[in-house]
């Protein structure tokens, strides 16, 4: 756990409301205070980074304090940007008479299910590439686990599809040139639309341009995936409370992440009640808590965990986040395997 903040990429996940943003922000401040250049990124459509830092944060990186920057991904804007990039690419790739149909198709794609999520993923991949160059550490304050897991499993599927399509393009081109070699001497290939498309030099060039664009995009996801599955580069921190639903959600996340070979580098058990509470109501809560603490150590044996107590007041502003950072720092150095 001491190496937690030596990673290049840290994902902080868990069920909504367990305190992900608080933990992620405090860790970011802690790492920044040790001299590392840190970027904290919110991918949740309902952002709370700005609220917790009590500063306005937008789609562009803003400086929050020494060595600390933040940004909140605007998923709709990201999707618009992607579609307009594709439209721009298209203008050099198709005949002007096709512009209208292409635009119509792309506008449909913009509002198709999954488009916004896909756009966020592309930005996440871009930002992962910034870890190790512009920043020493990029922390993702992620959306609730279900969304995050989908986000993590996507690159694999995309790699398969894109590679499949590109391979097909290559094969098709190879077969085409083979066919050209077999043409009757001194004769042009037949005039069917397909042959026409292959014979035409400018169209060949166009297809290579398309291949190049898609290959670049695939490479980006491939790199992101590579860092994500490298335990020395990236880690996943699960935040949960000693309560039934966060434990169940964490178990699901744990299973899925393990299946995708993404290492859980630790768990933060957040909002633990102090043991010296009195009164029937609070004693009953405490009894329930100790039951769930046992369940956590049973279910997640072998995972490192740090405990953070329930605080007297809710946390916002850099001062209070630094206090939580200190609690985390102490807990990290004494963290134990469950």
């Amino acid at each position: 756990m001491t190496r937690l903040l030596d990673l290049r990429i840290l994902f902080v996940g868990g069920k909504g409301g367990v305190g992900k943003t608080t933990i992620a922000s405090s860790l970011a401040l802690l790492a920044a205070s040790s001299g590392r250049r840190v970027l904290i990124v919110s991918t949740d459509p309902a952002h709370s980074l700005a609220d917790i830092f009590d500063k306005s944060i937008g789609d562009q990186e803003v400086s929050l304090s020494k060595n600390l920057w933040a940004l909140e991904i605007d998923s709709d804007r990201e999707a618009d940007r992607h579609i307009s990039t594709v439209k721009q690419n298209m203008k050099t790739l198709v005949a002007p008479k096709m512009y209208a149909e292409i635009d119509r198709q792309l506008d449909l794609a913009r509002y198709s299910p999954g488009a916004v999520e896909a756009a966020v993923l592309e930005r996440v991949a871009d930002l992962m590439a910034a870890a190790g160059t512009r920043y020493d550490l990029v922390i993702f304050d992620t959306a609730p686990t279900g969304h995050t897991v989908r986000l993590l499993s996507l690159p694999e599927i995309i790699t398969a599809w894109t590679a499949g399509m590109l391979n097909h393009q290559d094969r098709s081109k190879r077969l085409g040139s083979l066919l050209d070699g077999l043409q009757k001497n001194g004769e042009e290939s037949s005039d069917s639309g397909m042959m026409d498309f292959l014979k035409n030099d400018s169209k060949n060039q166009r297809n290579e341009e398309i291949s190049r664009i898609l290959q670049n995009r695939r490479d980006k996801f491939f790199e992101a995936r590579k860092s994500l599955t490298d335990p020395r580069a990236a880690g996943f921190l699960l935040v949960l409370n000693p309560e039934r639903l966060p434990i169940l959600e964490s178990k699901k996340a744990f299973d899925v992440l393990s299946r995708f070979q993404i290492e859980i580098c630790g768990m933060v058990i957040n909002r633990i009640l102090p043991s010296d509470l009195t009164g029937d109501f609070l004693r009953s809560r405490l009894k329930q808590q100790s039951h769930y603490m046992e369940e956590i150590s049973r279910e997640f044996s072998g995972v490192r965990s740090i405990s953070v107590p329930l605080l007297e007041r809710d946390v916002y502003g850099i001062g209070m986040l630094e206090n939580v950072g200190q609690i985390l720092s102490t807990a990290i150095s004494s963290s134990e395997i469950l």
Binding site: H82, I83, V86, N89, M90, L93, V94, M98, E101, I102, Q105, L106, L108, A109, S112, G114, A115, A118, A119, E122, L154, I157, I158, A160, W161, T162, G164, M165, H168, R171, S172, L175, G176, L178, L179, L182, Q183, K184, N185, S192, G193, M194, F197, R206, N207, I210, I213, L214, R217, R218, F221
Partner: protein, 84 residues
């Protein structure tokens, strides 16, 4: 064209002609597989990569016409994918 040259040309044709047909067929099959992959999404099989491969659209539009005529459909069978 000299007699020798004509003979060479015929010999060349003799060897190449059967392959030409086979390769053209193979290439067409590849095109059909590609169409199947891409349009399967419109038929209800989700393709999570489609958002990232939108640049393939111009190739599709051009090949789409060849495809639907080859499949025996005079017009585009898809309402949301217009053609001729």
């Amino acid at each position: 064209m000299g007699r020798w040259k004509r003979w060479l040309h015929l010999a060349d044709e003799f060897y190449k002609a059967p392959y030409r047909g086979a390769i053209a067929r193979e290439k067409r099959d590849q095109e059909d597989l590609f169409m199947l992959l891409v349009f399967s999404e419109l038929m209800g099989v989700p393709n999570p990569a489609s958002y990232y491969t939108l640049e393939l659209q111009p190739i599709l539009l051009e090949n789409f016409h060849d495809w639907h005529t080859r499949m025996g459909m005079e017009k585009s069978p898809l309402d949301n994918f217009r053609c001729c």
